[in-house]
Symmetry: D2
Subunit: 358 residues, 4 copies
């Protein structure tokens, strides 16, 4: 991706010399996520184009210089099926990393496929090989988890693990999820697995809602064919006029934020996790929606190493009952990347995958 | 108070027959708070006019039928200097009281001076005697706490104890308080006493800011003589461009809410406690102010028994270093109540007091 | 039950006159739980023998005086299948109920089947009818939940809902449960449903472990055929030598508490919920087990209204995948109560049920 | 310190070549803390004798290679008065650092004055100069904070900042602190500054209790002249028979842990922070002290960068009202180090200081 709004080009790079502790991953699968569409639209600031997109990626260990270990200290060998945490160079020293315990806000934070220029190396998954620099957090995929499971979950799954941590679901809670993208679908699945009693997902297009239901939403509401008033009435009806214990915003729309405040019960919680870019302002009433409701609103940015590791445990545990692999609805080869981007932009399918060997 | 916008009348009521467990308080002092002004403006719904206003009130035990005990089970006797928790009949049975642990949202909740008609009895402090119905939570004023200390703190102090609980201040935190009314002043005082390192209070009119400083604010910023940009710049300058750890909204203005979001640091917290009535909508950006900041916003409604009891401990502990008695800037007799209301409405002084024997 | 260690007698009582708001429940099922065995052994102090045992009980509404409503305000009618919260008269006024937010420690707390003498009324479930005094928290059984599901869960399920709240499980956590009684089995089930990745249950006798496995434990360890060292080795092996994220003590043995401290990882949590009576002292090392481990130990006493309501939601949600009805392994009529007690005492089965119409 | 129980020797080392990002501190003051006595007794495992003891140390910047910055990114210059976080090389990658959010349990964690051999460099404060390796967290001492203030607080202050975070004090709480050493004294001071209403410190020898009182304890109890029963009676008397909201163990004795469990109220919290070495087992009753009390026990190990930074803010804020400099009761030169160790071992004074230029 050489610049915003310009077709992505295929380029060849020499295989890098590995420093001690560095490694190469042979890419099995990467994804086209909403962030990639934002990158292509030029909506993220400070991106050092040209870049190799593809932040969450999986594959096999091609080669390593020195002994490579996973995050729990177990040695890795060539051919191992790996995932790695796409956020690297979090400094561990700044206020965000230490005193504030918010490493996702570390100013030094770098993310594969987004913040590293192609001139610096193979830092993106839309490529046959990915450079794993020393210090990158690496884990083996559990034996039963396929590449398609992992990439189907992808960055949306990691984000959702963080969302669920912030949501603090208690057994039997009613949870409303706004958004039927990769984040919303995983959030609905994980809310259910974390003990929610009733999960309601609101989103569109309608073609996605069957999958949302199979992911774990007990009730799905089609955003396009309902009015805000009808949706509010339905949520109140489902909760005996009390409102939802937890609302999760994974839609990225100012209107969704305004609407979600109405779904939450007094003393409930609302996690805001869909606004990764600025899509405009919301108009809300602090008296009605926050103060009198005694409401908690919790922003949720990015994901940490712990969320990455838990995502792997989650896939291992629930891959049979949650069809993550179906989120990655269609797979494209490197020569079809612009088609994949167009498909992701159109939102017709939840997610397009990239298989560099296809 | 027979109706909104009509001068308050003086009426005589017969002394009530006390049921078992009931008592009469001889009023020493009550207050005119912002809620009373709202009552007079008719901005609260469902108020059963005529009412006897005055929700937070103190005095001496006049008489009791049967043995009266304080909340810790210690017997009370006539002449004891008492405070009582103005919220009564919280049901203890509904979802808000039990499963949701938000008793301030109990639908059965009644509040002295607000929700009980004068036709039902002496349920307000702007009177020589107040009826303490069976079950009302009563506590002795600590010996060193004067009536003026207690009423100077008043409902704003109770609210502030709750605010500080929600704020979860850590030693050394920088706290910005928005609002120089009775709530804002107590919140600034308590933030400091709860371990805040730097407390910045933004409010007006300028005449109040000296008291705000003596209450505990290290830095006071005059709302009327500064621009939003200048205030933001000052907060960022005071925090090495990081922003405040905690922001407390006690201003009740939609603009204050919009502005406060900018003061908070990444991963910080913002407590919304000033919007007790609807003063209009705010326009905010969910991406910039909540999601990317990984911010916690916490509504804070009313106060619980525990906050009332802690308020008494707080007064006992800090009355020498915090001039709560100065918040109650002027005292009025029963015949001057309309003057007192006018003074409270004008916001010239932080709080007008009522002394029924004056 | 007229006195400890004396056979339980069958007595007839006149049907009570109902006060306004009072009701009678026609008992469908009650249970014999560990507390009933303690009652019979005389190990609880202050019990006003004679009592009608049976604290958690379910049945149909026989009659009510005045309109009876459930906790969410919906009217109830004769024949409705009901559950009620066995803890009544929690005062809602004392420090425990208010400031400390620990209503299970309210000194006024009364519990059906334990604290109310048979001379006061039908306050126990080992009877054809149970008096529901005004103010008792009542809920309809969800349509799909059978009496056997509800009583199979019983008080152990309510306790477990509280345990899981205290445990604060995060998705993917490894949880070790100590104890294969009604509490341990429900705790294992709920830990799994609340998102635990691996649940290990340690207990006995071996005959219960198959049910424990079907309740949700991924791994079951037979207490009787293993050594403490072997159990520790197994837990460490299952966790890559890190230890369990969460340990739940539901065994009630001083040795279990000592052993459980070793299972927890650094920074983990240990919930103590099995010591409802004093079974002796434990010897532990504060350096090794608490301070250096940076461990959280959380006592968990009784259950609150919210846990009761969540238990009903939990049964509705998971009754198909969790065989709660099997915990109540055998059902006895009123004439067989002493057999039921003997069976419960022997611990051969997880729980004996009482069906007064059998 | 060449080996346990052998007099400490004075040695000269060449000034090191600084790598890029490295620096030298000219030592102004270091301390002899309880850990140093443990080091000298050989009670810590894996210590690479010979070592240069002295973990918390302060002084001025002597020289730096490259631009040296503080933790908030502000440049430092020669002569600046500095403190540095004695814990270095926490990896930021392992489970403890990431997923578990317990960096004080990182296996790679190194601590100045304890874990680094003198053969590796100037890694201890009992020396004229200290090597600040690249990546060490450095902060300027606030202008008003003297070296004696900082070292008087020392490691006990950092530990106490962590303790107070774990204690989660609410305004007005009653806090009991066990121990009159450097940790106990700072914990009492900070509990008070964090909003505790009544702080009771139990410790000895009696000669320290006057300082404990001036540090912030409202009530001091002499451990040596009272019985456990008398102490319990006094705590219950001070709390109207309810017990303390928070108990802090900073005594390091198995008996203190046993005793402290009795001081805590139902639903209270007990922070265990004094058991840095194994001083033997405690015998406790899980029913009486944990389960029925619904108690939280929280181990507290080491301190994090955030605690170091907050300690500096705390010193800046409270140095006038809390006599931290008096904890460092006596100062010794490098030639008197064995006297200083003997004095620390005898526990006659709370802390001995080391001034290498004296």
């Amino acid at each position: 991706m050489t610049a915003p709004r310009v077709p992505v080009e295929l380029r060849e790079f020499p295989e890098p010399d590995l420093p001690s502790g560095g490694a190469l991953l042979r890419t099995a699968m990467s994804e086209v996520c909403g962030t990639d569409v934002h990158l292509w639209h030029g909506r993220l600031s400070g991106v050092p184009y040209p870049i190799i997109p593809g932040h969450v990626t999986t594959g096999t260990l091609d080669k390593a210089r020195g002994e490579l270990k996973d995050v729990e200290g177990r040695p890795l060998k060539e051919g191992d099926r790996l995932a790695f945490f796409d956020v690297h160079r979090t400094c561990g020293k700044c206020l965000a990393c230490t005193a504030h315990r918010t490493p996702t806000r570390c100013p030094s934070r770098r993310v594969y496929g987004i913040t590293d220029s192609a001139t610096e190396g193979l830092y993106g998954g839309w490529a046959q090989k990915v450079y794993l620099e020393p210090g990158v957090i690496i884990a083996k995929l559990p034996d039963a988890v396929t590449f398609a499971d992992y990439i189907g979950g992808g960055c949306g799954l990691l984000t959702s693990v963080h969302i669920i941590e912030r949501a603090k679901i208690t057994l039997g809670d009613t949870v409303v999820v706004q958004g039927a993208g990769a984040v919303g679908m995983s959030a609905a699945a994980l809310a259910k697995k974390a003990g929610a009693g009733l999960v309601v997902l609101i989103g569109g297009p309608a073609s996605r809602l069957d999958l949302a239901h199979r992911m774990g939403a007990d009730v799905v509401i089609d955003l396009d064919s309902t009015t805000p008033a009808a949706r509010l009435a339905q949520v109140m009806d489902l909760t005996n006029n009390i409102g939802a214990d937890i609302v999760i915003e994974a839609a990225g729309s100012p209107r969704a934020f305004e609407e979600g405040l109405g779904f939450a019960r007094n003393g409930g919680a609302y996690v805001i996790a869909g606004h990764y870019t600025n899509t405009g302002d919301s108009t809300i009433n602090a008296h009605e929606h926050i103060n009198r409701k005694h409401l908690d609103i919790r922003g949720c940015w990015g994901s940490e190493v712990g969320h990455f590791l838990r995502a792997l445990r989650v896939l291992d545990e629930y891959r049979e009952s949650v069809p993550w692999h179906e989120i990655g609805a269609k797979t494209y080869g490197l020569t079809q990347i612009n088609d994949a981007l167009a498909m992701a932009e159109s939102m017709v399918i939840p997610k397009a995958l990239i298989d560099p060997s296809a």
